[in-house]
């Protein structure tokens, strides 16, 4: 039997674990997947051991640009666990607001990229347009669009002024109907349903065996969420619910992510209620970190992010261990990709949300025997988009004129 190896990567701007995938294909079907990591390894854990406790919050922020507040929250939780300090209530609410705003922008980013991979550039443009107001809020209250630098051991660095609260509310109010429209447009679309339903299915047994986390696990019916199961910040002080789906396919993952945006908005609104008109400390002084060890979690947009620190009583940690959620989620490709066609693999790999923004230029397929190039990155996206067009024809839905024009220009 002649098998073809399809290498994907190595360029993936994922946080510490960029990866290289080799898909072993028999005709159109994928029969095995291999994974090599380490291209983006920046030695963050080692650098962290040479920095002061307070400097590390900025360092861990740079692990990932998209979940850039999840790592600092998890790290601060770990150090606060070690130093046995309780942060002020106002700081808890502010942490929640920043974390949830980030979740909305991260999920919207995913929806946009998934749309792009399927040949729905309209969804890409919509989702990224609706993401901008969230970044505006971030810029207003933290001073930067990404990398907010809000977290600090013992609280937060900046207060949210009362004057900003109505503006934040207004932006979120304006965003809600648009998000609603986007959710309905994505979920009711017959073509997207045909492309995504039953694709890349992970059963709850798979999830447990691979230890998958976050929206991937919740889409397979596993009711896990660190925000509820191990409450920190203000998550036990506000009303919200964990979204789960039972199908375990890519469609279910999209549903979980889109519905989570609305839950996040609910959390933000309640937190803003609790901040308005009240005064209080936003941080406490943590001067000395005692010897010992501490752990901290945070439910990042992609799943549970875990930090472990050990101290010997000096100014910097003796050991700092970080486990990001994609580290657990990526190996699930072993279960979800096998048996699927090459044109579906793009969206299955993207379904786990491993920060997929630069794949297109990095995928190249070689024939095993001749080493001749047969497919490259743009071909993969083209294959995926062609399948969408085919399904559109089958169920008799005409693509919009703009999509058609784009399609003609690109091909």
């Amino acid at each position: 039997m002649k098998k073809v190896i399809v290498p994907i990567g190595p360029y993936h701007p994922l946080f510490e674990e960029p990866e290289y995938f080799a898909l072993y294909c028999d005709g159109e079907r994928v029969v095995d997947v291999e994974w090599i990591a380490g291209y983006n390894h920046r030695g963050i854990e080692k650098i962290s051991e040479s920095k002061h406790w307070d400097q590390i919050t900025f360092l861990v922020e740079r692990i990932c640009g998209i979940c850039s507040t999840s790592h600092p929250i998890a790290y601060c939780n770990a150090v606060e666990d070690l130093a046995k300090v309780e942060i002020p209530e106002r700081a808890k609410y502010i942490r929640c607001i920043i974390g949830e705003l980030e979740r909305i922008h991260s999920h919207l980013l995913w929806v946009g990229l998934a749309g792009h991979f399927l040949g729905y550039n309209t969804v890409f443009m919509w989702a990224w347009k609706y993401r901008e107001p969230i970044l505006d809020i971030m810029e207003m209250i933290t001073g930067n669009r990404n990398h907010y630098a809000m977290m600090k051991i013992g609280g937060v660095r900046r207060d949210i002024d009362d004057a900003y609260i109505p503006i934040i509310r207004k932006i979120l109010e304006d965003l809600k109907p648009k998000l609603n429209m986007l959710t309905n447009a994505v979920l009711d679309d017959p073509v997207l349903a045909a492309r995504l339903k039953g694709v890349g299915v992970l059963t709850d047994k798979d999830i447990k065996e691979f230890g998958a986390l976050g929206p991937v696990a919740r889409a397979s019916g596993l009711d896990i969420d660190v925000r509820r199961d191990s409450p920190h910040a203000a998550y036990d002080l506000v009303e919200w619910k964990v979204i789960t789906q039972n199908e375990g396919d890519v469609f279910a993952r999209a549903v979980v992510r889109l519905l989570e945006c609305f839950e996040s908005m609910k959390i933000i609104e309640q937190c803003l209620d609790n901040l308005k008109g009240k005064k209080g400390e936003i941080s406490i002084d943590v001067r000395n970190i005692p010897p010992g060890e501490g752990i901290g979690h945070y439910e990042a947009p992609r799943g549970e992010c875990f930090h472990y620190v050990r101290s010997d009583g000096t100014g910097s940690p003796l050991r700092h261990k970080i486990r990001a959620p994609s580290f657990n989620n990526i190996p699930t490709f072993k279960a979800s990709c096998i048996g699927e066609t090459i044109s579906d693999v793009t969206i299955i790999l993207a379904g786990v949300d491993p920060c997929y923004c630069c794949t297109e230029r990095a995928i190249v397929a070689y024939d095993v025997n001749t080493q001749k190039k047969i497919l490259d990155g743009s071909d993969f996206i083209r294959l995926s988009q062609e399948k969408t067009r085919k399904i559109e024809k089958e169920i008799g839905v005409a693509p919009s004129r703009w999509e058609e024009k784009n399609w003609e220009r690109d091909n």
């Binding site: 190595p10 360029y11 701007p13 291209y39 920046r42 990932c64 990155g377």
Partner: protein, 140 residues
């Protein structure tokens, strides 16, 4: 003569190729952001190319890790000349907070020649557009 003609032709429509060499993904997201409705640099004829062989400008983010430098050099060689290299973000410009890391092989100008530096962590889309405009104005 031919080279300068080609350079003049470049000014009309820049094709950019974006390459991450061990970044935190944030500069990459902001580059994509430039293409979306709020900033929409396609208005000015600037668009992302799918392959480096079609590109006029290489946008490089990240610190340049040891495992990546060979690939960066290869991609630079494959880029048609005249071409320009833009270092985006503090990591690509100086190494930033990763300069002491054991996998650090950059900053970028140690690996390949750089024409424009856009500092910031991450630089705002406006800053990136301003950087590209400065690059365009410098082409003679």
């Amino acid at each position: 003569m031919v080279l300068s003609l080609r350079k003049k032709a470049l000014k009309k429509s820049l094709f950019v190729f974006h390459l991450s060499t061990g970044s935190c993904n944030n500069c990459d997201i902001e580059i994509l952001d430039c293409l979306t409705p709020r900033f929409d640099i396609e208005r000015f004829g600037i668009t992302l190319a799918g392959s480096v062989k079609h590109a006029d400008v290489l946008l490089v983010t990240g610190i340049g890790t040891l495992k990546n430098i060979e690939r960066v050099k290869k991609l630079y060689q494959q880029m048609p000349k005249p071409g320009f290299v833009v270092a985006i973000g503090s990591c690509a410009c100086t190494g930033g907070m990763f300069r002491d890391g054991y996998t650090m092989a950059g900053p970028l100008d140690k690996i390949i020649p750089v024409d424009v530096y856009i500092p910031g962590c991450p630089p705002k889309p406006e800053a990136m557009i301003a950087g590209i405009v400065k690059l365009l104005n410098s082409i003679k």
